[in-house]
């Protein structure tokens, strides 16, 4: 991702947070208060009380469910085609930006499949508490992973694409022992998230998500722009989301991502464990043709998630389907065209 674009994305977030919208609500859409003369009755106030209907505020239109599912399917399909056709890794900004705009900023990063792990854990016990979009959000990327691997991670996940777009150009490999220990963390998070959600204690994965502040901010501002365009209620003053702590955590996570590619995806995300398990038995798995491989090691060096390892005995390179996020980086860099 071009540095200028990264700068622009940061500036948009900062601008949202700082910009002062001083517009005031001119015509709030609340019910009209009648005056005494409007009600043609002798018992004015009693009639008013009788006729009063509480104002109802609707969470969101049911059409969003269809839009969410359609958008998720479209982005996943685009990602699948790009992985299947071996498109160069630099072109993955397209599904990434689509996903960031729609699932990140327009829908506020909620519900995301990462958080839906907790919702689904509750849903196994109380199915009526899980909506259609949450269920599809959880199941569809897993179904895709069963066919072609973790396409969702590179193309569809709002958290993943934010880390991808704001990440550094080169990923630095961690020392082997800390890396091996850190890779166990997502499994612990998965078990803990499901357990704590079932116990009703908390949504652990939502607590751990450092990027939610940016999504909430985008959601708030896009909603405000929609309301302003429709002439509806616009709250006066500056809309700020999150406090200094949450923005500090966001900045720390983004800065960490400059040195380590996708720190959240690789060392925290519980949904990645499930996607990885399904990818291990996927029908189309990325693999290195040993007949074409000259063991140059370029693929191992460029793999941003360190999924490519070398067997010390046979000296052959292999790709771990569990860790591979299908970024096409290895197949783009292979001089022998030996990775499919």
């Amino acid at each position: 991702m071009n540095r200028w674009w990264q700068l622009i994305l940061c500036l948009v977030l900062a601008g949202w947070q700082l910009a002062g919208a001083q517009e005031t609500a001119t015509d709030p859409p609340s019910y009209k208060i009648p005056s005494g003369e409007d009600i043609s009755s002798n018992e004015g106030i009693a009639t008013y009380r009788e006729q009063y209907r509480p104002q109802q505020y609707f969470p969101e239109s049911a059409a969003w469910v269809g839009a969410d599912i359609a958008m998720l399917a479209a982005i996943l399909l685009l990602g699948c085609v790009m992985v299947w056709r071996q498109v160069h890794t630099r072109h993955f900004w397209l599904p990434a930006v689509l996903s960031l705009l729609y699932f990140g900023f327009l829908r506020g990063g909620c519900i995301c499949p990462v958080g839906s792990v907790a919702n689904l854990a509750i849903g196994i016990r109380h199915p009526e508490r899980v909506g259609l979009s949450t269920g599809v959000m959880f199941l569809l990327p897993l179904a895709v992973a069963l066919f072609i691997g973790r396409v969702f991670c590179i193309a569809g996940c709002p958290l993943g694409v934010l880390q991808h777009l704001l990440g550094g150009r080169r990923s630095h490999t961690l020392p082997p022992l800390p890396h091996a220990i850190l890779r166990i963390f997502p499994v612990i998070t998965l078990v803990a998230t499901a357990w704590l959600a079932l116990r009703g204690t908390c949504f652990l994965v939502c607590l751990l998500d450092p990027y939610k502040t940016a999504f909430f901010l985008g959601y708030g501002w896009i909603e405000r722009i929609f309301h302003w365009l429709h002439g509806g209620l616009v709250e006066p003053g500056v809309l700020r989301v999150g406090d200094l702590t949450s923005w500090g955590i966001f900045a720390a996570a983004v800065l960490l991502g400059r040195w380590i590619y996708r720190p959240f995806c690789r060392f925290v995300c519980p949904y990645g464990v499930l996607l990885g398990l399904f990818s291990m038995v996927a029908f189309k798995r990325r693999r290195i043709e040993q007949s074409q491989c000259v063991q140059c090691g370029i693929c191992e060096k460029q793999c941003p998630v360190d999924a490519i390892t070398r067997d010390p005995k046979t000296r052959e390179y292999t790709i771990s389907s569990y860790h591979c996020i299908q970024c096409n980086g290895c197949s783009s860099s292979c001089r022998k065209d030996g990775i499919h």
């Binding site: 609500a25 005056s35 005494g36 106030i45 009063y52 509480p54 109802q56 969101e60 502040t213």
Partner: protein
């Protein structure tokens, strides 16, 4: 590893995967408890404040991830007594009724509680509404109304403003655990039940409540 064995493990893995996906989907989309349909209204779940537990401490104003908060104060018109002088509107009720509109000292720091004459002149019925564009959910009006008045004002989480976090930041700090995850219904509705204790309201409602 022997290729036949590898293929068998792959096949078994895929079978387990398909079964897990199918089973989860079946459970989520069709497995609702038949009793639950009758015991609970269908509709989306939202974060809401239980008015019976709320003490109007004002944490909602600052705890919400949004600023201004998604919480707003509302006045239930079915419970309101339409007083001349309202506890949620004026901080000092000892004022003549002509001067309320111009000189009355307001409870709300943002002057969000609006007072309108309905009928009967300056000592008649007045309608109180809360301007949601000004309200910041400090809860001062609702606190006074519930402590001294007719308990018609209360705080709601507006579903259209609420982002619907999986974990509500207000619920995390609420000292009374009043924020709950429940089915949505008309938000001004005060949980749908009306206890019209002051059915016959008079212009001296404010003074009556004091005595």
């Amino acid at each position: 590893m022997n290729p036949g064995r590898r293929r068998f493990i792959q096949f078994g893995g895929r079978l387990i995967g398909v079964a897990a996906l199918g089973g989860t989907g079946w459970r989520i989309f069709t497995g609702s408890d038949p009793d639950a349909v009758f015991s609970q209204p269908t509709g989306p779940y939202v974060w809401r404040i239980n008015p019976d537990k709320c003490t109007f401490c004002g944490l909602c104003e600052t705890a919400c991830v949004r600023f201004p908060s998604a919480v707003k104060a509302v006045n239930d018109q079915k419970k309101c007594s339409y007083c001349v002088a309202c506890y949620g509107h004026l901080s000092d009720l000892h004022i003549s009724s002509e001067k309320i509109q111009s000189e009355g000292k307001r409870v709300c720091p943002y002057d969000a509680v609006a007072r309108r004459e309905f009928s009967g002149g300056k000592d008649g019925y007045h309608i109180y509404t809360i301007d949601d564009a000004k309200c910041t959910a400090c809860g001062k009006c609702a606190k006074r109304c519930n402590k001294l008045g007719t308990k018609s004002m209360f705080l709601i989480i507006r579903p259209d403003l609420c982002i619907g976090c999986n974990r509500c930041a207000i619920a995390a700090v609420c000292p009374e655990q009043a924020v709950e995850w429940a089915h949505s219904y008309p938000e001004d509705d005060f949980r749908g039940d009306y206890e019209l204790e002051h059915a016959a309201v008079g212009s001296d409602e404010g003074e009556r409540a004091t005595s």
